[in-house]
Symmetry: C2
Subunit: 342 residues, 2 copies
DNA sequence: TTGTAGGCGTTATCAA
DNA sequence: TTGATAACGCCTACAA
């Protein structure tokens, strides 16, 4: 015999299915005589009754699932965020459906369609670009969502991001204390809030320390990747401007620098110091171990999960945005500036 | 107005809902006049009709979801497998629900319950232990599943694993060619097929090359972790037996060796060579870059997805197991054996 | 080839 | 407090 249904339980308890439903659902249990309730619950246990969430969904039009839109799960940034989200969602009875967009808007659109057709009750989105028509449109359609890591311009949607500006300040401060005065920035894509905010914070940090802000020391990467990081560093190097330190847009870009160091025989941190951003796993095993800004990824997930649950349960709350505090992890890729050759 | 239903489409096309259903479903389209079909399809497009998979599930008792049981998504091994699975499942109309067990059997049981209550149509399981009562029980209950990475004893369930034995052979062969004769193995947990198979293959490879198989050169790790790897290597070192190379159970264990090298001032590969297993990302950025056995993780996912689909669509096929070929990636952590000090 | 009717398992509404 | 009834959106015998 197959799995017992509510009817079976009701029958076993000698009540109507509707009553059994009420007794089994904590929300409505108070509507039923506590003796009957007990009886129903006991019957349910005896039969090993498991409610069928699909039938429930059909009736309530609540799927108990949310969608998680990532660029690429393979980026070590995301798994801890996913775990954080699930740690909050699971106990609340929700499951996450994960999709990867590979930064392809067409694919993203298609994947979001899939999620919506599966009736997700909300979206956690890690792929936001500053201009993002799809998100705009979803928002207008009243789709509940929370942005993580990145934000979108002019869109009143809650977001959970690291305090990127503060992270860059920490990095610059650290380098300045080590005596660096000529610092380059390999910025991330300027289509993302992360890329823009970090670059802007970099400039203002330089000015804050009274350093000059040489345009030759800023290169923008088209992707958050090693290849782009390498390309960007080569470009600075080939430009001929002097510098003794690099603030990389993120760890992958910093790893690209390592490739160029090897390629050109540059000593890090002897000749050039590097700071990354994110604190990916295993960075301490590199040579030199990478100094970087640690982002509380798990926490980002937790907060995002909470915020989405909140907006599901209290749809009228006005959206808040959260900036999570960051810390600098000093390792071996940064050292005192070499004696000035000027 | 909310999302259009099948009825709306039918009405728009001037047919009955049943006809619309038949027209929209490729399986049954041939039952309907091709003109009517065209009309229905056009109406569906005009309205932006999306079938409600929940309603469909309730009727067909097919959820279109499968469960993916992982120890921990945060282990870089798994994301590529997940992507591989989704690459196959997505186009087939399935979505994956991912759960993490943290290697805790109680948590695993609870998570699997959740998955089953969500009516997943099958399970892909990466947490198999050799003795695994839960899997045994699920199998007896007729739950469709595919094992990845690891297998289970005495259970007639399809599995997709790397050809672990061959991988170890490749590693040992490589070391022998470099002149190593005293080789240690830091084995993974012997509760997993992976740990056992690799250890067994290690012994037989040594014998195959006529080397002696000193028990002092084998230590078993309780977990696949850096900490355990470090502990195991210290144990070999402290045992005093001579050796010039290590075959680590996996990359994390190898990373633990790096910690011990740093701690004790041992030169790798000058004094000791190390080979890992898995080829995690960024291993080429370590110092020295880690020589390791590359496992086709994405492909494992693809094959697992395919096999699960197969067993869903043709339940009577007898289970097959697949061993995927491996290759050795030679990097900087292995070098010629130092001149014998004997 | 198309329509009718019934039901998948649950919950919401109404009446008793 | 409980029961009867209908409905969520879809699919599928069966009948026409």
């Amino acid at each position: 015999m197959s799995t017992p249904t509510l009817r079976d339980v009701a029958e076993a308890a000698g009540v109507h299915a509707a009553t059994a439903s009420r007794a089994l659902n904590p929300e409505t249990r108070r509507l039923v005589n506590s003796d009957t309730a007990r009886r129903v619950i006991k019957a349910a246990e005896a039969l090993g009754y498991q409610p069928n969430p699909i039938a429930r969904s059909l009736k309530t039009s609540k799927s108990g699932t949310i969608g998680l839109v990532l660029p690429d799960l393979t980026n070590p940034l995301f798994p801890p965020i996913v775990r954080g989200i699930e740690d909050v969602l699971g106990p609340a009875g929700f499951s996450a459906l994960i999709v990867n967009t590979d930064n392809d808007p067409a694919r993203e659109q298609q994947q979001v369609m899939t999620l919506r057709s599966r009736q997700v009750e909300g979206l956690i989105v890690a792929t936001a670009r500053l201009e993002h028509p799809l998100l705009q449109q979803l928002h207008e359609q009243g789709v509940r969502m929370v942005l993580v890591n990145r934000r979108t311009d002019d869109l009143d949607v809650p977001s959970i991001t690291p305090d990127d500006a503060r992270g860059v300040e920490l990095a610059v401060e650290h380098l300045v204390k080590l005596g660096h005065t000529r610092i380059a920035h390999l910025a991330g894509p300027q289509s993302t809030s992360t890329g823009v905010v970090r670059a802007r914070a970099f400039h203002s940090a330089l000015r804050g320390h009274g350093l000059d802000d040489d345009p030759a020391l800023l290169v923008t990467c088209d992707y958050w990747s090693e290849e782009e990081g390498a390309r960007a560093l080569r470009q600075v190097l080939d430009g001929g401007a002097e510098f003794t330190a690099v603030v990389a847009g993120n760890d992958l870009i910093a790893l690209g620098c390592y490739d160029v160091f090897a390629e050109r025989g540059i000593d890090c941190p002897g000749e050039v110091s590097v700071v990354g951003f994110n604190d990916m796993p295993f960075l301490d095993k590199l040579r030199p171990p990478l100094t970087t800004v640690a982002v509380p990824h798990h926490q980002i997930g937790v907060e995002a999960g909470r915020m989405l649950l909140e907006s599901i349960h209290e749809p009228d709350r006005s959206p808040r945005s959260v900036f999570l505090p960051l810390s600098l992890v000093v390792r071996g890729s940064t050292a005192a500036a070499p004696a000035s050759r000027a």
